[in-house]
Symmetry: C2
Subunit: 229 residues, 2 copies
């Protein structure tokens, strides 16, 4: 499925005609359900720690699930290489050609490069952006976002849609909280205002603190998805 | 021009038909040139410190220039209130109605709410987003972006357009550099790769370190713009 450890496949994603992305996303989700593949869509601002959090979680899960990763970026293959070398997990880099988000058809283009018969969990690391990715259903089985402490606790007030569509909000970089004017209680209250049902998990991707709880949650969700098959 | 100190005007921006945004932006720039008004477009990821940097710079400039601020956000008026209460400068909040960027026509809608006869410098704080705002010329006289230390030195590799269209890159939150794996030399090399002519200025908006150099640069640019009138 994947060649040399140093090699990362780069897929140039083509712009799709989103006549009805919601319908297309529902169709993709049904197909994934039939095949017993769980697709997680991970979103955040640039630099809030998506890749580092993934590496930490993947190393906890890789002996229990068959995993593949799709890294979406406008340019570069920095993240795909990082994930592959730190976890050994098969990773493809999706180049969006300047586009600010992925939709269901673009996600499908990435999935077609994977061997889904050998995969329980696919993680899509979306383009770093708190606005546009929230507007396009990728066909994922769940949406997870990361808000990092340095970004500030007021972000749910300014980017309402992103916070309202996510099942889980990871609050990352809690190790540096003493150096920032970050109020965790206020942050959680702001998230709850947008999305009362969201699970909120404080983590530190660098040290692994809290990532175990996220990995456990994800393992349960993937198994539930497969068992309901 | 502006009423009660506690009051912040909120303008709901209407979506424009960007048939030819580049032409419209050039037209707006010419009009601003004729009126001797300098428009600065400030961009960054969410939470990299646009508002705090502005407050620090505005307090250094407000006795030397007549300034107005336009704060663009999808929702909330948190930033406009902050700017107004910390600097006393007239500030309007532009609500983009979910849109991820401003174009020239949307910027014009904001400018129409200001008294430009009484203004030397207008600062537009764009929506927090490293992708879409880079694609739309707002008609500004210069583009400035902020990259903060916690976001990481690899961002110019992943968001090429934003770094290539900015005249100035402020590297903010240098006070917390010891707590992050941030390599300043590598960061500057990555910026130079995208934009050899960009001015790079390390700052700490919280303490004001380095902000004086940026304020001095801006004062010179505004005066040059007016004198060439």
């Amino acid at each position: 499925m994947f060649g040399d450890m140093d090699e990362v496949r780069i897929i140039e994603i083509k712009k799709s005609v989103f006549e009805n992305n919601d319908k297309d996303a529902d169709r993709l989700r049904s197909e994934l359900k039939e095949r017993g593949v769980f697709l997680l869509n991970l979103m955040s601002s640039p630099g809030s720690g998506k890749t580092t959090t993934l590496i930490s979680a993947l190393n906890m899960l890789k002996d229990r699930l068959r995993i593949a990763v799709m890294e979406a970026d406008i340019d570069s293959d920095v993240d795909a290489r990082k994930i592959k070398s730190a976890t050994g997990i098969g990773t493809v880099q999706l180049h969006t050609g300047g586009m600010c988000h992925l939709d269901a058809e673009m996600t499908r283009q990435g999935l077609e490069s994977l061997d889904l018969r050998e995969t329980d969990l696919v993680i899509l690391e979306n383009v770093g952006n708190l606005v546009c990715p929230a507007e396009f259903d990728t066909g994922s089985c769940c949406n997870v976002m990361i808000l990092s402490v340095p970004e500030g606790h007021d972000k749910p007030l300014k980017y309402p849609l992103m916070f309202s569509i996510c099942d889980v909000v990871l609050i990352n970089k809690i190790d540096v909280a003493p150096y920032f004017d970050f109020n965790m209680d206020e942050c959680i209250a702001n998230i709850r205002m947008r999305n009362p049902g969201a699970k909120v998990m404080p983590v530190c991707a660098k040290t692994g603190e809290g990532v175990g709880a996220f990995a456990d949650w994800l393992l349960t969700e993937v198994r539930r998805w497969k068992n309901n098959n």
